[in-house]
């Protein structure tokens, strides 16, 4: 078998490169003269890219160039996109912080609204709260408290660093005066 025409190899290479979707062998064959061996052409393209930073990969019923898998890690730039806690989660966390240890029922009573499991889950997932034993009442409900990760997140040395609740009431007017959403660090 003779080597494929370099011109055909170039054309197939360009087609696969420019296509938004994987290119099938039939599409390559349609681009080449009838007597050309599309399979051999494809193989020639593949060997051109063997060991390169970009490789020819079979995917989704066709062929596509992809970044060599071993490079992906080094090419990836990670951008930190910190997420915000939903308002309910933030309020629940605040209540746990100032009232700990506290049961779910107590949190609901303070907030005056039911507390959904997703909210507790979000706080648990962020390792901001932990179960801290049970309250000695019928049903033995779980008590919730904050974690060391909570202290780190809010830049506190210990829980004593939290402003007293009495101070908070004084500060209320100050806090209220602040425009909402200005929680820049």
């Amino acid at each position: 078998m003779s080597a494929p025409d370099p011109d055909h190899v170039r054309l197939a290479e360009a087609l696969i490169f420019a296509s938004a979707d994987p290119v099938s062998l039939r599409q390559i064959a349609a681009l080449l003269p009838e007597d050309a061996d599309a399979g051999a052409v494809l193989q020639a393209v593949q060997s051109l890219y063997a060991g390169r930073g970009v490789t020819l990969t079979e995917a989704g019923g066709g062929w596509q160039f992809r970044t060599a898998p071993d490079l992906a890690g080094r090419l990836t730039r990670v951008i930190s996109r910190p997420r915000r806690l939903p308002r309910v989660a933030m309020e629940t966390l605040a209540i746990i912080a100032w009232h700990q240890p506290v049961t779910r029922a107590q949190i609901e009573e303070i907030r005056g609204a039911a507390l959904g499991q997703p909210t507790l889950d979000a706080l648990l997932e962020g390792a901001l709260i932990r179960p801290a034993g049970h309250r000695d009442v019928p049903g033995r409900p779980t008590l919730w408290a904050t974690t060391p990760a909570f202290l780190t997140q809010f830049g506190l040395r210990d829980l004593a660093d939290l402003p007293k609740r009495s101070e908070l009431v004084l500060e209320t007017s100050v806090l209220m005066a602040e425009p909402p959403g200005t929680d820049a660090p």
């Binding site: 996109r81 997420r83 915000r84 308002r87 309020e91 907030r111 609204a113 997140q153």
Partner: protein, 252 residues
């Protein structure tokens, strides 16, 4: 540069629509004269233009104003160019002819510039970028955007909202009901010697609305009681005090 066959100024039936304005036609005419625009004859250019416009006018009477404005200006230019040199008007004409040639040269240059751009392999038309680019950007959403002031605000806001959520309940008013009045009337009527005013049967320490309600309910109770002969009622004149007494024959 597409030059359709209709753009060749060969016949009098020439369609001026094929040109993008008078300057476009002038440039075409100038090109027919010479490749180098700095050496064209403005005078012969003027004559050609006027011939074309005249021919077009013969075919259809209405012609866009811009063609006629240019024609009028060119006639003026021609008159200046035909004057003997070294007169002030001839000098003016020469300057205008130069300016026209410069404008034509600039348009020609920009035509060439467009052609140059057109001849470049244009992205997405002649050459193609990667059809399926890969993004190597990854977002790390593990960190939390929250700080102490935010936590404080959440606490204060949460408490405030909880307080606001307590539903409004109007103060319960304890009105002296007819039942209350009936009970009090039957209980105290026997202890009253003779006639006594209605007010004496009211419960103590009432004021305003409560007192007026008690007066009304005690009156209704006494009327109810009087119907069964349980009490005697008397009023000596309109708006005079209403007097109550135990029925006759009972101990008074």
């Amino acid at each position: 540069m597409a030059h359709g066959p209709e753009r060749a100024p060969t016949g009098l039936t020439l369609a001026l629509d094929g040109f993008d304005g008078p300057l476009d036609l002038l440039l075409d005419l100038a090109r027919a004269q010479k490749i180098d625009l700095s050496r064209i004859s403005v005078l012969s250019l003027v004559e050609q233009y006027l011939a074309v416009v005249e021919g077009a006018l013969r075919v259809r009477l209405e012609l866009a104003a811009e063609w006629l404005v240019m024609a009028a200006w060119l006639i003026w230019l021609k008159s200046r160019l035909l004057l003997p040199p070294e007169t002030a008007e001839a000098e003016e004409g020469a300057q205008s002819a130069e300016a026209l040639a410069a404008r034509l040269a600039e348009l020609e240059t920009m035509r060439a510039a467009a052609a140059w751009l057109n001849a470049r392999p244009a992205l997405g038309i002649d050459v193609f970028p990667r059809g399926a680019p890969e993004s190597h950007l990854a977002a790390d959403r593990s960190r939390l955007r929250a700080d102490l002031p935010g936590l404080l605000r959440a606490y204060v806001d949460g408490l405030r909202r909880a307080r606001a959520r307590v539903a409004y309940q109007p103060r319960q008013l304890s009105f002296w009901t007819v039942q209350d009045a009936l009970a009090r009337l039957t209980a105290t009527l026997g202890t009253m010697p003779g006639w006594a005013t209605l007010e004496r049967f009211l419960p103590g320490a009432l004021s305003g609305q409560e007192r007026r309600a008690a007066v009304a309910s005690t009156l209704i109770a006494s009327l109810e009681l009087a119907r069964g002969g349980g009490v005697r009622l008397r009023q000596d004149a309109a708006f005079a005090p209403i007097l109550l007494a135990a029925p006759e024959g009972e101990p008074g």
